[in-house]
Assembly symmetry: C2
Homo-oligomer: 234 residues x 2
Amino acid sequence: MCFNLMLSNDQTVFTRDDRETLHKIMLARRDMRHFLANSKVDKEVLDRIMIAAHTAPSVGLMQPWRFINILDTSLREKIASQVDDEITKTANEMDHRKADFLKLKLEGIRDCAVLIAVVQAPDDGTILGRRTLPQEMALCSTACAIQNLWLAARAENIGMGWVSLFDPKYLAKLLHCPENALPIALLCLGPVKKFYVEPMLVETGWRNEKTLDSVLFNDQWLDDDGSPKFQNKQ
Amino acid sequence: MCFNLMLSNDQTVFTRDDRETLHKIMLARRDMRHFLANSKVDKEVLDRIMIAAHTAPSVGLMQPWRFINILDTSLREKIASQVDDEITKTANEMDHRKADFLKLKLEGIRDCAVLIAVVQAPDDGTILGRRTLPQEMALCSTACAIQNLWLAARAENIGMGWVSLFDPKYLAKLLHCPENALPIALLCLGPVKKFYVEPMLVETGWRNEKTLDSVLFNDQWLDDDGSPKFQNKQ
């Protein structure tokens, strides 16, 4: 690490400036599909990003995330080719939006500097906190690690895209994963020319974002027409 | 918002200080179970925390997260009581660790200032990015929103605990959720006396953390005995 994380103290009292920095990073984070070809990510930068991923919370302290760095170029090409196939299959389920869908750039597998497959480890039998939602809670833990990774990458001015257009069984076989391990993400990481100003799917007119108010309820679920503003307990 | 987020620019070039702040927040974030009773969270603080949650990425821009703020005290008590039941059920599956398990404080439902149930919305039919892993990708999106929320809370010096000890069907009914909506988290939020120095499950001797090296592979999965150090592509 370039900076001394040992200075961090769990009792740290964060300031308004700290919060502003965090919010700026969150707001500037984008799901990137366009990368600068022939670029690279320095080792210490990637190390810091992976450390951030591993500080994520996990149910029952399972830490079920596994990260596979794809270094072999022929392996990367096999993965890219599988993603191409999956894009075609998805397009064929799109009906009237197929043409618009095929105009979108949906992955940066061949261009990105670093490609990391994220695999959900086989169940380790943890019961604490996951008796009723065992698969869901393990998966949520890995997603939290990916979100940390994503924010840490953006803070390094590195783009990241989470590609989920693949056949997980095929990918598991390609990466020699054990039975019951589940690949859930192909993370494209690397320098970008420009971060999208809005989410790419908004910029391209594919879809609009929901307002915050529309996802906040008090005490009970309400359908779209009857949602009151989220209140705070006084 | 107290600070002007409109100043944030998606092309922001973050600095070493910014990265250090982000890593400090991530490292100081804890899954809290002990809260200061009779405390509160100011409205503008909770607003900022919820804004952070809603800036999360989501597959196909689904934004499948819904947040239900539990304001009604009798509703909170019903939820607490359900969590008590689930703790008993989990304990009964614990075998030789049952006594140790029952010594752990596993939730702060009755003490925390703010209680928020997070519900996965019913499937909206999005295909983009989720043809092969539809439920998984929607769930991962909601988990990313919760991780943003968690980091934003810590940056406000507010503790948060993700309680997953509940019967999701019972909770869905209690919160009047539509069919196929799935409660995945009870988030306890509020001031704490002290943040755990290490994860509570480590502090109590329940479980050790994995090393970062043990979850990083190159090109293929390797079992525990044969994992080489994660390399960076040059």
